[in-house]
């Protein structure tokens, strides 16, 4: 899962990025409206945390441009102005939820999880696929009730597959959703992560789709 964090205040931006990264997501950061618009338009993010008061292009405009261009990723807006006028304007511009500053990091993460889950059509905080269970609140994966030890990249690959069960996910898709933009990407590493996951998981859960990529299948 890859998240775009847009905030112009440097300290808050770092805190946000650190908090979201700690929760197991790949994080990209934009410090102004123009960068944010460009990145959101070019990269496939799974969710965006968007501050409204931005230099160069304000957050609402960025959001409207994304929506006009058909970008449908869930967007959580951060606003200092705690009034319904602004909230309604934000929702009407295409936001999925809002959070008023100052906020608790736990609440922001909870809202973010809910947004990503809703976007994938999942009703519960726990994603289940056969014997696999992913608790999005604690980032814990269990196999038939037994906790699974995963590195952060392994977790991201598996989490992305579990958000899209039964779908063929291409290698480049995985790369785009597990790495931040500034990370040194190499699609061969995806094969390494898949290989390690197959060893840790019951056999047959991750299929290779020839010429396409991978698919998470439930044995039932």
């Amino acid at each position: 899962m890859r998240i775009l964090v847009v905030e112009d205040e440097p300290t808050l931006c770092e805190q946000l990025a650190a908090g979201v990264r700690e929760a197991g997501y790949a994080v990209d950061v934009a410090r102004n409206g123009l960068d944010a618009h460009f990145m959101g338009d070019a990269e496939p993010f799974d969710a965006v945390v968007l501050d409204l008061g931005l230099p160069q292009m304000d957050g609402l405009t960025v959001l409207k441009k994304w929506r006009a261009a058909g970008r449908v990723m869930p967007v959580l807006i951060l606003t200092a102005r705690d009034n319904w006028h602004e909230k309604v304007a934000g929702i009407d511009a295409g936001a999925d939820d809002y959070l008023t500053k100052p906020f608790h990091m736990e609440e922001l993460l909870a809202r973010l999880r809910a947004l990503i889950r809703r976007a994938g059509g999942h009703a519960s905080a726990e994603l289940v696929c056969g014997p696999l269970t992913l608790d999005t609140r604690s980032n814990r994966v269990t196999v038939a009730g037994r906790a699974l030890a995963l590195t952060s990249h392994e977790y991201r690959v598996l989490a992305y597959l579990m958000h899209h069960p039964g779908e063929a996910v291409s290698r480049s898709d995985l790369v785009e959703h597990i790495y931040a933009q500034d990370f040194d990407r190499d699609s061969n590493t995806v094969e390494v992560f898949i290989g390690r996951l197959r060893k840790k998981l019951p056999p047959g859960l991750i299929e290779t789709v020839r010429g396409m990529g991978y698919r998470l299948v439930s044995p039932q």
Binding site: E9, T11, L12, Q15, L16, G19, G53, A80, R81, D82, N83, W84, H85, K87, V88, I91, D92, A95, D96, D97, Y98, T100, K101, P102, F103, H104, M105, E107, A114, R118
Partner: protein, 456 residues
């Protein structure tokens, strides 16, 4: 005394002034015309007397016995009618030749009377005028001249009843007053119409102002006379400036919020990383600062707004916008959010942002507490806008309802929220002269009843 209400009336003042001048001009005109006519009649009267005197003089002769006689009688028949009002008489004056004798000859009209003429001896050729008492006691206008024929000095006198001249003057005056009276009445009516027609734009001005006051229009609209147009323009400028000031105040309040809250976020997040006494202190103080900022900003914004005239907000669109937001924000809860039909022209007399703030908080509360259903309805009751928000949650016990409207008090600490929502609604409603009341809902939970000024 003129009652104060009339003294203060522009119409009354204009009418009073106009009527006074009409009356004064008519009186002066009547007096002047009457005088002119009287003088004219008088001079004609005397001219006629003089003509008769000339005729008498021309007909005067002495008979063989030396007594005065008339060659032919005078032409005016009134000289022959007894006491007919027109008289002549010839006196012999003392002096040369014969002894003085009054009325040696006189008109038939004098009958047996003699005109008693003041002693006067006008020089030959002069004509003198006198007023004397006539035979029947009436005043006579009289002219006399003296002539000398064969050494006899004779005084020729012609007199006429002054009533002969008064009669046309009286008749003229009667008709004059009647005519001027009618003219005055017509002018007064015209003045009345002029004042009412001329001041009609003032009434229009008042109506236009009333529409601004009631929130029907934002500025004064309509065509006004050139004398009033600058006033309307100035007033509209003041209205626009007011709106501008309010908008600036809002923007500044918003900017202040932004400027304060971003550092507060940084502080809160920094403190959240550790769990010592300092971190806890920072966290609690940040929360307290945030509440203070929210509360006072919302009040400052509302205070600026409540005094702005001519603002109206349609209720329907605000409710629709908020419901869109609620459906998105509370999507997790799968609530059944319903609106009872809202009349299309239903409007709140106040700022859109304030209505959004009040309804937003009420709806948000209802969505947080509802078990599955929230309903909102709005309408006019007793000329007030009444909005009801219902939920099917567990409600608030009657004893606690009043307390939840107070600042910072929450009925339950488990559902996220600042606890300020209802207090802000209460404050805003009061600023608009409205109220928020909590009651039992027919849905089983809480019903919030918001009463606000409506646009008629």
């Amino acid at each position: 005394m003129i009652p104060a209400t009339l003294r203060g009336s522009l119409r009354f003042r204009l009418l009073l002034g106009t009527l006074f001048w009409i009356a004064a001009s008519l009186v002066v005109a009547a007096w002047g015309l009457g005088n002119l006519f009287r003088q004219h009649v008088e001079s004609q009267f005397h001219a006629q007397l003089k003509t008769h005197l000339d005729q008498l003089t021309a007909q005067l002769a002495l008979d063989d016995a030396g007594r005065p006689t008339l060659a032919t009688s005078l032409s005016d028949p009134r000289f022959n009618r007894p006491l007919g009002g027109l008289y002549w008489q010839i006196d012999r004056l003392a002096g040369t030749g014969a002894p003085a004798a009054p009325a040696v000859m006189r008109s038939r009209s004098l009958w047996d009377q003699v005109l008693r003429v003041p002693a006067d001896t006008p020089a030959t050729g002069d004509v003198h005028q006198h007023r004397i008492v006539g035979p029947d006691g009436a005043m006579l206008g009289m002219v006399e001249r003296s002539v000398t024929i064969n050494a006899q000095r004779l005084r020729l006198i012609v007199g006429a009843d002054e009533n002969l001249m008064r009669e046309p003057v009286t008749r003229f005056n009667e008709e004059l007053w009647l005519a001027l009276g009618l003219l005055g009445l017509g002018l007064a009516l015209a003045a009345l119409v002029q004042v009412f027609v001329g001041l009609a734009p003032l009434r229009k001005l008042r109506d236009a102002l009333g529409r601004v006051r009631s929130g029907e229009t934002q500025r004064m609209e309509g065509d006004f006379p050139v004398e009033i147009m600058p006033l309307v323009g100035e007033f509209n400028t003041v209205l626009a400036q007011n709106a501008d000031v309010v908008e600036r105040a809002r923007t500044q309040a918003g900017n202040l919020a932004h400027a304060l809250k971003t550092p507060l976020s940084v502080l809160a997040n920094a403190a959240a990383g550790t769990d010592d006494a300092l971190a806890r202190l920072v966290a609690s103080q940040v929360e307290s600062a945030r509440k203070q900022v929210d509360y006072h900003l919302s009040r400052a914004q509302a205070a600026a707004t409540a005094r702005l005239p001519g603002v109206r907000t349609g209720v329907g669109p605000v409710v629709d916008g908020l419901l869109r937001a609620m459906r998105r924000i509370h999507a997790e809860r799968n609530l059944d959010l319903r609106v009872r039909p809202i009349p299309a022209n239903l409007a709140f007399r106040g700022e859109e942002q304030d209505l959004q703030e009040m309804l937003g908080n009420l709806l948000d509360n209802a969505c947080k507490w509802a078990a599955g259903r929230v309903e909102i309805g709005a309408g006019i009751e007793d000329d007030r806008l009444v909005i009801r928000v219902d939920d099917d949650g567990k409600g608030i016990v009657a004893a606690q309802r009043q307390a939840t409207l107070r600042r910072g008090v929450r009925a339950d600490e488990q559902v996220p929220g600042s606890g300020l929502g209802l207090a802000i609604v209460d404050d805003l409603a009061r600023m608009y002269g409205g109220a928020i009341v909590l009651a039992d809902s027919p849905l089983g939970g809480l019903q919030a009843i918001l009463t606000l000024p409506a646009v008629p």
